[in-house]
């Protein structure tokens, strides 16, 4: 619940008390909105359930951190996709192209900054990684803008054509990546500051995973703040519910959509860069590979819901790591099973988006 004075727009009532101060005279205080927290509780529940199965607490901590890191990276990549779907009913199968471009651009920049990347100084390492990630985001965002204009715009409202055309866009983009960067995979080494692990007692936590968790959480918090506390965020949330009414209030929702598309693409680029550093290799197929997980995540979360996407990503990351440890052969199958279970429970996903 946000008090009246916390919107980014200036306070609603510059003079006098905020409206809810008068509540007492008007009648009983309102019932608090009941937030649906059951899906949120699934994450700790899953972690607790995994503890006895994994056995060793040290392995459990390592796996949990790995799962959260993976989940948050997927969240970063998936959030833009779920928002564009919610806002304009566009499902972009070509989203993986932005991830791949982000990975390649970041890898190129980092390889070009070889000495800084190899240096033992944390600051020089970061000075190489930061511009690489920035470049990845900018180029993915630009590509997203072009993609929206050329590929997606002509097929608004036509699901079948959308799926076909955006899939075609993915094929072409993947091939162009091979034209520009060559068909072979690029090997990347994490800078020294991001290699190795923190050792606490007998628990080992990889440094890079901590960074991935931090970046993912920052993206999530910034996104929540932007959606919850800014006017643009208000427009996006309202548009997800009923874009026609947003138009009727006098806002050009198309511009908001392009903005969200570009931001979503840039985030995919960021996710691609993080993923590349995580895997330490980059191939043109990276986008298509991750897309499978992303689809599972946004289906689990409820198409269009950022909160659902967040919970879904954490569940998928955790399940992949726990099962990968317990029964490595069925790791990806386990995510399909997770998706099936969630859909049996809630056919529209964890947080179905209210629709007109």
């Amino acid at each position: 619940m946000m008090p009246a004075t916390e919107t980014t727009s200036p306070p609603l009532r510059p003079s006098g008390a905020p409206p809810h101060a008068a509540r007492g005279e008007e009648g009983p205080p309102p019932v608090r909105a009941r937030r649906d927290i059951v899906p949120l509780l699934l994450v700790p529940a899953l972690m607790l359930a995994a503890l006895p199965l994994v056995g060793s607490p040290a392995s459990w901590v390592t796996l949990s951190v790995a799962g959260l890191a993976m989940g948050l990276m997927i969240f970063v990549m998936a959030s833009g996709l779920t928002l564009t779907f919610g806002l304009m009913d566009v499902l972009n199968f070509g989203h993986g192209a932005f991830i791949a471009v982000g990975a390649f651009v970041a890898a190129s920049v980092m390889l070009a900054m070889g000495p800084w990347m190899g240096s033992d100084s944390l600051w020089l390492n970061l000075a190489a990684v930061a511009p690489a990630i920035l470049a990845a985001m900018v180029l993915s965002g630009l590509l997203g803008w072009g993609f929206e204009r050329v590929i997606v715009k002509p097929v608004y409202g036509q699901h079948l054509k959308q799926i076909l055309v955006t899939m075609g866009g993915l094929i072409v983009a993947e091939q162009l990546l091979k034209v520009v960067w060559g068909p072979d995979q690029i090997t990347l080494t994490r800078p020294p500051a991001l290699r190795g692990a923190f050792i606490i007692g007998d628990v080992a936590i990889e440094k890079y995973r901590v960074l991935a968790v931090a970046v993912g959480l920052v993206v999530f918090v910034v996104m929540q703040l932007a959606l919850g506390r800014t006017r643009i965020g208000l427009l996006v949330r309202a548009g997800v519910e009923n874009s026609e009414m947003v138009e009727a209030l006098g806002y050009r929702i198309g511009r908001v959509f392009v903005g969200v598309f570009v931001v979503g693409s840039a985030l995919a680029g960021l996710g691609g860069a993080l993923w590349a550093l995580y895997q330490e290799t980059v191939t043109a197929a990276i986008g298509a590979q991750v897309m499978v997980l992303i689809f599972i995540v946004i289906i689990i979360g409820g198409l269009g819901s950022v909160g659902g996407c967040f919970v879904g990503a954490l569940l998928v990351g955790l399940v992949a790591n726990y099962i990968g440890f317990l029964a490595p052969k069925v790791a990806l199958g386990s995510n399909i099973l997770l998706m099936a279970l969630v859909l049996l429970w809630r056919p529209q996903g964890l947080y179905p988006v209210a629709r007109r």
Partner: protein, 241 residues
Amino acid sequence: MAEALLSLRGVETHIGRYHILHGVELDVPQGGLTMLLGRNGAGKTTTLRTIMGLWRASAGAVRFEGRDITRLATADVARLGIAYVPESMAIFADLTVQENLVLAARSGPPRAERLDRIFARFPALRRFWTLPAGLLSGGQKQMLAVARAIIEPRRLLLIDEPTKGLAPAIIANMIDAFRELKDGDTTLLVVEQNFAFARRLGDTVTVMDDGRTVHHDTMDAFAADQALQQRLLGLSMDTHQ
């Protein structure tokens, strides 16, 4: 009668393969309240949506303050000072009451005196200020929908069936609200099925049937001619008092 703020000439609208409006003629006089009446499926809602640019007229012209707005995008129509309250109310259920109103106030934060007037008229909005609008009752949602349309001064309000499913006390409240608006400088075009309500508020009447406008009149003359009502609407207003 004052000159028309809004006028439709020969408006035809298709939705998909269906031809819904067949040459609608409508004048909404400046400063008055025009009631758009007609049986279910007569094309009243489609007329409002065509004015807003939510459906495209395939022929004819929609003029607002003398300017042709037939081809304008919905957002640009709204920016001319036309507000729309759809029948479904279309409040944003996941947004709070406050957020719904902040969004509706395009040019900046809502003005305190404006808010105070709205709160005086619809106290429930003050009470549930920070609640997601989806939790409001039907009547409260309608209040929010109307409040959203008047959070800033607008030239013309298009309101689709504001009394549908509302309790009599709330309807009385709506009547007062619309009177107050009319006494200000706001012009209203209201689609209505509740004839008692229509009669108490309307200055002029346009009746639609089968996608056409079939009758224009002042409300007083129309209310007096029961045979006409019977023919055009299939029932007399008095039976609905």
